[in-house]
């Protein structure tokens, strides 16, 4: 598959590295040669020094044969222009990164397709959604819904009160168990457990279950004493902060702390009175306490500096805030931030990249999410009649090590998959696997 990525910024380079390891033909374009030279000599991809909006440049990289054109420069209108040019020059599918909520409205979809922009991606919006869903369920580290909520993935950290520690998984319960453990993150390592693995203290465990049994998961994880979030404090008035404040449910009260007065004034224009804007340094604990940090259930650090975010979250945790969320843009820090007990780590690059990654997978896959914590992929497949996976019960399929079927949705109802489950054509199957093994798994579905 030939993929052209325009813009060698954080998202573009991350995506290019990710896809080049996947043996896709990647051409990365940027008009700044310095950004490209190290990538060119260290990764199996081709770079082109040309402006993404130059027709000559686009023709030179062979946009006519491209299967996918992704414009991820920082400038929204430039991305749109590049996509329109690429589409008219013959690119099969185009994706533009945008910075405007209006464009995402469903009624505009057809209009943009007519212009030649097939998909839009709004990393700040995706990040905001993830933040909100993580603070809505403060005891949950990760929350992901499949098929409109029929099946739910929950990631949560095991504390002393958990009821399922040190018991081999196959002893936890018979076929009636209403959940399935799909992944365990222990230290910096992610494992897809088998029946004889056990859950240990401080593991982050990922369950799939149905909505009905979420309280049960909360009980066995020993998290019943976690308070629901009503007050949120956000440090750093970035674009993600604005989106988050707009996106939180009405019962939550949001305070944004930023130390740039001009930015604060701008934030008051962008947001309504529901949100309180505070001018001050988010690292100043006295200020935060004065503004009611002790009554706050969630603290979200979204400054441009990953280190500040991590440290601020740790400080907030000391002050008794139960849920902390940090934006960490440095991928190497994510594992460390996780081990330091930060509730949820948000990485804009990875969210955007996994979103685009799902677009390039075969049409049968409707949803892939890169779990930032677990280094695992989640893919949703629709089962075709006669495919390999329908032939045997799950335990006899011989799925490769490091992959597991988390659950399936049959006629709109979520079902937790056990060893004896036989998958039927028409099911939506949710698969978990390590290290981009999706390509191998795909074979079972075709």
């Amino acid at each position: 598959m030939k993929i052209i990525i325009a813009g060698a910024g954080a998202v573009g380079t991350h995506l290019a590295k990710l896809l080049s390891r996947e043996k896709q033909d990647i051409i990365l374009m940027d008009d700044n040669e310095d950004k490209l030279s190290t990538l060119n000599s260290n990764f199996d991809l081709m770079t082109a020094t040309a402006s993404p909006t130059s027709i000559k440049g686009l023709k030179e990289v062979g946009v006519g044969e491209a299967d996918l054109f992704i414009a991820v420069t920082p400038d929204e209108s430039r991305n749109m222009t590049a996509c329109m040019l690429a589409n008219n020059l013959g690119a099969q599918k185009t994706v533009a990164r945008i910075d405007n909520y209006e464009y995402l409205l469903p009624k505009n979809k057809e209009f943009f397709q007519k212009l030649g922009v097939d998909s839009l991606i709004y990393p700040e919006m995706l990040a905001a959604k993830e933040i909100v869903s993580s603070i809505r369920m403060s005891w949950v580290r990760q929350w992901w819904e499949f098929c409109g909520g029929a099946l739910i993935l929950i990631g949560t950290k095991m504390r002393e009160k958990a009821e399922i520690l040190n018991i081999p998984l196959h002893e936890l319960g018979g076929p009636e168990l209403p959940y399935h453990v799909v992944a365990i993150k222990r230290g910096s390592e992610t494992l897809i457990p088998r029946g004889d693995d056990t859950i240990k203290l401080h593991d982050i465990v990922y369950f799939t279950t149905t909505r009905k049994y979420v309280p049960y998961i909360r009980k066995i994880a020993g998290k019943e004493d976690y308070a629901d979030v009503r007050n949120v404090m956000i440090m750093g008035g970035s674009r993600i902060a604005v989106r988050t404040a707009q996106y939180v449910p009405d019962y939550m009260q949001v305070k944004i702390v930023d130390n740039d007065l001009n930015r604060c004034n701008r934030l008051t224009e962008l947001l309504d009175d529901r949100t309180m804007i505070i001018n001050g340094d988010g690292r100043d604990m006295d200020l935060l306490v004065e503004e009611g940090l002790k009554n706050t259930e969630a603290f979200v650090a979204l400054t441009g500096n990953s280190e500040t975010n991590i440290l601020a979250c740790l400080a907030a945790k000391r002050m008794g805030v139960s849920k902390t969320v940090a934006e960490v843009e440095n991928i190497d820090y994510i594992g460390m931030a996780e081990s330091l007990d930060i509730g949820t780590v948000i990485n804009k690059k990875m969210i955007a990249a996994s979103h685009i990654y799902q677009m390039m997978l075969d049409a049968d896959v409707s949803n892939v999410k890169c779990l930032t914590f677990a280094n695992a992929d989640v893919a949703e497949f629709t089962v075709k009649a006669g495919s390999k996976i329908t032939k045997h019960p799950v335990k006899d399929l011989g799925l490769p090590k490091g992959a597991t079927i988390g659950g399936l949705i049959r006629q709109g109802e979520g079902v937790v998959v056990m060893g004896n489950t036989l998958i039927q054509p028409g099911d939506h199957v949710v698969v978990f696997c390590l290290n981009m093994m999706i390509k191998k798994i795909e074979k079972y579905f075709n």
Binding site: K2, S20, R21, D25, I27, S41, N42, D44, M46
Partner: protein, 483 residues
């Protein structure tokens, strides 16, 4: 630190690949019902055994290779290939002496073409075929060959490729290195097949055609005849080989552009222009001098001049005439050509035309700079500005190249070799040409040189083939430090 486990494993797999090559040669022996078949089986058995052992020893290492590992791997892979590649010569007592056998093999893999054999025609066909095949495989590169046929490097293919590829910059023709390698190898194989056909039309038998085609497109220069191409005494064969040597001296990514019918880019390439220009200029000058100083006629002077110029500039080293019999100023001209070489990214040796182009532009800029002290003077090639770091790499490369020639010549003289021969051998080895000057010229083999000189020259061939830095880097203390 260096990832020795994976390096050992890959070298083991490479040796298995070499075993397959031995089996191909034993097929040739079988066809001619000659005794060397057994030697290939013995050599293959040893190589496969060591290969399997190394592959097993290196099991379970980290798959990812760093840039550092790439340099170690490439250097050692070439040495290992030559060490085991000499087994057929040595086991069969065709070359009973280790220094000679290693020299001959390294000369083949580095596509140099200098030989220590005094009676080539007496050797069996399988051995001759192996000798020619080493040049063909080595011409484009052992690693490049492996990348094209086996996916053993995984994501590290690029790091390894960069350590072997020639020229100061590497153009990519396809986003993925594996496919780039496949395209380039198919062009290479296509040119070779075409040449085999044309040579057979000229009256060569199929065995000689294939061997000479291997030596031509690999720009090696091993012939199956003691008298080299002059043996055939056929103007047709001489012209055909001249043309194909010229083609093999062009950057293969450019040839790919030509095949894809992007003629404008092909014609406009600065390096190609320089290469073509220098061939035309030197051929004309030498032809005119030959016409007036030797008994040759007009056509013959032109033909001999063309063949010798292209043969030396592309570092092939075939000969149709003993240029040591020509008037001495012509040796000087030919030495300049030997130093220059053809295009980067081809199968040739020498300094490479692209570096000459950059050097001329840098020098011209220096003069301009004296007149206009405040001017910003970029070095532009193919309308693109070459970054100063590449320019300084080129300058350093040329300096090291010349220094090695001087040191090498002195060492050779210290071993008791004559001055003219010393210089000729060193320039010829580091540039991967083949014939030298004086007593080591096209009419002689290098058998008379002392053993120490043969080891030295083998090393220089490897150095020249991997373009100095890859090998020399291993000799710098910093390389082995943990930081």
């Amino acid at each position: 630190m260096i990832n020795f486990k994976t390096i050992i494993r890959i070298i083991g797999i490479l040796l298995l690949l070499e075993t397959v090559m031995f089996l191909v040669c034993s097929g040739v022996s079988f066809y001619y019902r000659e005794s060397d078949m057994l030697d290939f089986w013995k050599a293959g058995g040893i190589t496969a055994g060591v290969g399997l052992l190394l592959a097993a020893l290196g099991k379970g290492g980290e798959r990812q290779l760093t840039r550092r590992d790439g340099y170690v791997l490439v250097s050692f892979a070439w040495v290992a290939f030559s060490l085991f590649g000499m087994l057929p010569f040595y086991i069969g007592r065709y070359i009973p002496d280790i220094a000679n056998a290693f020299f001959e093999t390294m000369s083949g893999f580095s596509s140099t073409g200098a030989t220590i054999l005094d009676d080539i025609e007496s050797l069996p066909h399988g051995i001759l075929f192996w000798r020619s095949m080493t040049q063909w495989i080595g011409g484009l590169g052992i690693i490049m060959f492996t990348i094209a046929v086996l996916p053993i490097f995984g994501v590290s293919g690029l790091q390894v490729f960069a350590a072997e590829a020639s020229g100061p910059t590497h153009d990519k023709v396809h986003p993925r290195i594996g496919i780039t390698a496949k395209w380039i190898w198919s062009i290479y194989a296509g040119i070779t097949a075409l040449l085999v056909g044309l040579l057979m039309l000229g009256g060569m038998d199929w065995f000689d055609s294939i061997c000479h085609a291997f030596a031509t497109t690999g720009t090696g220069g091993f012939s199956t005849k003691q008298a080299s191409v002059a043996y055939y005494n056929s103007p047709y064969i001489e012209y055909v080989i001249s043309i194909f040597m010229f083609i093999s001296g062009i950057n293969f990514t450019l040839l790919l552009l030509f095949v894809n019918r992007k003629f404008k880019k092909f014609i406009g390439n600065a390096e190609l222009k320089f290469y073509f220009g220098s061939v035309v200029l030197f051929t004309a000058v030498i032809a005119i001098v030959l016409y007036y100083t030797s008994p040759m006629g007009m056509e013959e002077s032109f033909r001999k001049s063309l063949f010798q110029v292209i043969s030396l500039q592309t570092s092939t080293g075939f000969a149709t005439d003993d240029y040591m019999q020509w008037t001495p100023v012509l040796w000087g001209l030919l030495t300049i050509i030997m130093l220059m070489g053809a295009c980067a990214g081809s199968t040739t040796g020498g300094l490479k035309c692209i570096r000459m182009v950059i050097l001329t532009k840098v020098s011209r800029n220096e003069f301009k700079h004296i007149l206009h002290p405040n001017a910003i003077l970029p070095v532009r090639i193919n309308k693109q500005v070459i970054s100063p770091s590449i320019v300084s790499t080129v300058l350093a490369f040329c300096f090291i190249y010349i220094s090695i020639i001087v040191i090498g010549t002195l060492l050779m003289m210290a071993m008791g070799v004559g001055a003219e021969e010393s210089m000729g051998c060193v320039i010829s080895s580091i540039g991967n040409m083949g014939p030298g000057l004086g007593e080591t010229g096209p009419a002689y083999s290098w058998n008379a040189l002392p053993d120490a000189a043969k080891w030295l020259l083998s090393f220089l061939m490897l150095l020249g083939r991997l373009e100095l830095f890859t090998v020399l880097l291993l000799f710098t203390p910093d390389f082995w430090k943990r930081n």
